[in-house]
């Protein structure tokens, strides 16, 4: 457990089974999706979170039932980490019976209990501010949590939201998945300055996470999230992470070297090396589970929708 926050160390031995399970559920889910797309069994679009699965798994354990989560285009992991319902999510993406949103929303537009994703970058942050305003008034310590990418900091709405969140001292947790790229554009060519600086510009607390060790991450984040709840203050948590897969499907124009670098940052091999047997067992289990889910959902009839 005495790991530092740096990348590239072996994974800790203490990781809980359920965390490994959840991370691997997401991994296999995303892999299955890419396969289904290749086989022509799904169409439209999808964005997998390969390489980033540990982030929502680390964060979700710190969230309560009353917290409201906002997600984005790359949201399968955010959803599965929180609610685990892979059947419902896959059915949504495939437009089958039992879909979370009757197949209407699809991969990018999910609203389930207190989880909402949208496909327009940056748009959800002001909405999260509004939700946080309501939650603050309720006074039960709940927060609004919004996941955004590094590229999303190009949108003006992000700043309008941060300003209001800090002015009004709202319980807003912004989780930034800085994977160094936006679609095809490296962060350095779409972002001047830093995310830390941008939080500081508004007097908002910023915390940087460079490890993939979820226990370490949780240990660091717990007091911050308590601060969001108890002091009702916005906090920005930035994860330095890696997108191990394509932006969407087959659209990775990074050089082989860049892709290798992104994959080298993947938590998967590190956790596999750290807990060889446990990992192999759970990995196999989750792989089979997802395969079964995919077969089951693929066999379902199309979703139906009462549009009135």
């Amino acid at each position: 457990m005495a790991l530092t926050s740096a990348l590239g160390r072996p994974a800790p031995h203490g990781v809980a089974d359920e965390d490994l399970e959840r991370m691997l559920l997401i991994r296999h889910f995303e892999r299955a999706l890419l396969r289904l797309f290749e086989e022509g069994l799904v169409n439209g679009t999808t964005h997998t979170c390969l390489g980033q699965e540990y982030i929502p798994v680390a964060v979700s354990a710190l969230l309560g039932e009353q917290d409201f989560v906002f997600s984005n285009h790359r949201g399968h992991g955010h959803f599965l980490a929180r609610y685990g319902d892979a059947h419902g999510l896959l059915a949504e993406i495939m437009g089958r019976e039992g879909a979370l949103c009757n197949g209407v929303g699809g991969s990018q537009h999910i609203y389930h209990r207190r989880f909402l994703s949208t496909g327009v970058q940056g748009e959800s942050l002001p909405v999260a501010v509004g939700v946080a305003l309501r939650l603050k008034r309720l006074g039960q310590g709940a927060l609004a949590c919004a996941y955004i990418g590094d590229g999303t900091w190009g949108e003006g709405s992000v700043y309008e939201a941060l300003n209001m969140a800090q002015l009004w001292r709202l319980p807003l947790l912004v989780v930034v998945e800085n994977n160094g790229i936006a679609q095809s554009t490296p962060t350095a060519t779409q972002m001047a300055g830093t995310i830390a600086g941008r939080a500081a510009a508004f007097g908002v607390i910023h915390h940087h996470v460079a490890t993939t060790d979820i226990d370490v991450i949780r240990g660091d984040l717990a007091p911050l999230i308590t601060c969001v709840r108890e002091e009702s203050r916005p906090v920005v948590v930035e994860f330095a992470t890696h997108r191990a897969g394509p932006h969407s499907k087959g659209d990775d124009t990074r050089s082989p070297g860049e892709i290798a670098l992104a994959r080298a940052g993947d938590w998967y091999d590190r956790y596999a090396a750290g807990h060889p047997e446990r990992f192999a067992r759970i990995d196999a289990e989750q792989g089979e589970l997802v395969a079964r889910i995919a077969d089951e959902v693929a066999a379902r009839p199309p979703s139906s929708w009462d549009r009135r």
Binding site: C101, G105, L116, P126, V127, G130, A132, M164
Partner: protein
């Protein structure tokens, strides 16, 4: 921006009497701005989950048009002055509404709703349906709109037409005939995002009540809430022409109707919906079907107008009984100049409506 108390007729260069025929300053029904303010007081008092957000809305300023005066003093931080962030505050309103509260957002000048277009089109209205089931989102965005005050090209527009036809988004316009409190109640009860347009000159006019408009005209409300106001000369039961217009046009439509009646012996009925989109024409079809000419008037610029939407509904509905095309009156296809003499050239005047009715009747 206008100064407090400076919303008088003089500022607009228009000399028509208030719709109720009382001279400005003389006692009588309350001014529309005040009526709206009182309605907001009532709503905030009755609903502890209702918020009002906007730039400079708190006391002592009470909003650029003073519509929110007294509210922050009475209702504390449910009434909130915001930074200049039109997109952001509409998003905040949507978030409050999504989470179980209700929100009214004031856009200082309706022109700036353009900055919130994404939040309205791609979030608030979409969210009511794109998650595969109905989702409540009780949000009203208030847009002071219209010209005739010399505020210039970016502070005088009537952006209604750009928001027509967004699935899940309902549009309303303030009128001197519809009780604002009841109208807000209706909008919030839809639990869907609504945009309310409020004509800036109408603010300065008086509400009508008890069926009385002025010495010549009376009105009744027809149809389900919020309904249409049907305005006709007292005692007249049939009419030659119908003018369909949102509330902001009332003063000019009435002035035109008065002149048409007194100088040209043309009887007109004026139909004013509070709900301008979607439009329920059912209750007023009888008035339309019996008219020899129909004129739809609005303040937006020409092209892609609200009137074109009204007309596309009316042509098939009245096919057979229509014996001439529907006349559409709108602002010119032009920016709206600052100088009053130039502004007048491109904005709808009472004479514009009068001439359109006469032309439609072939006189």
């Amino acid at each position: 921006m206008t100064a407090p108390g400076e919303t008088a007729l003089g500022a607009t260069g228009l000399g028509e009497p208030a719709p109720d025929g009382t001279a400005s300053g003389v006692a009588g029904p309350v001014r529309v701005a005040e009526h709206l303010n009182q309605a907001l007081h009532g709503l905030l008092a009755a609903d502890p989950g209702l918020h009002l957000l906007g730039e400079d809305v708190t006391d002592p300023y009470g909003g650029a048009f003073k519509i929110t005066k007294g509210l922050s003093t009475a209702y504390g931080d449910r009434v909130r002055s915001t930074p200049l962030s039109e997109g952001g505050i509409v998003g905040v309103g949507a978030g409050l509404a999504l989470a179980g509260d209700r929100a009214i957002v004031e856009i200082m000048f309706g022109d700036f709703v353009a900055l919130a277009f994404d939040q309205l089109l791609n979030f608030a209205s979409k969210s009511t349906a794109m998650y595969g089931r109905p989702v409540d989102l009780p949000l009203v965005v208030r847009c002071p709109s219209g010209g005739r005050r010399g505020y210039g090209p970016t502070h005088s527009q009537s952006p209604q037409k750009h928001l027509v036809g967004v699935p899940g988004l309902s549009l309303f316009e303030l009128t001197p005939f519809h009780d604002a409190g009841r109208l807000f109640g209706h909008m919030l009860s839809l639990a869907r995002p609504c945009v309310l347009f409020e004509d800036k000159v109408l603010y300065t006019r008086r509400m009508c009540r008890d069926g009385v408009v002025d010495d010549l005209f009376g009105y009744e409300l027809v149809g389900d809430a919020p309904g249409w106001a049907v305005v006709r000369a007292d005692g007249l039961t049939d009419h030659d022409a119908v003018v369909v217009a949102p509330g902001g046009l009332t003063d000019r439509a009435l002035a035109a109707m008065r002149e048409l009646l007194l100088e040209h012996e043309v009887a007109c009925a004026l139909l004013v919906p509070a709900a301008i989109y979607p439009l329920d024409l059912g209750p007023v079809l009888p008035y339309l079907a019996s008219a020899r000419a129909i004129c739809v008037a609005e303040d937006g610029t020409a092209g892609g107008t609200w009137g074109a939407e009204v007309a596309r509904l009316l042509y098939p509905a009245l096919w057979g009984s229509l014996d001439r095309p529907i006349a559409l009156v709108s602002g010119a296809d032009s920016i709206i100049p600052s100088a009053p003499h130039l502004e007048r050239e491109v904005t709808v005047q009472d004479t514009t409506i009068r001439d359109a009715v006469l032309a439609a009747l072939g006189s």
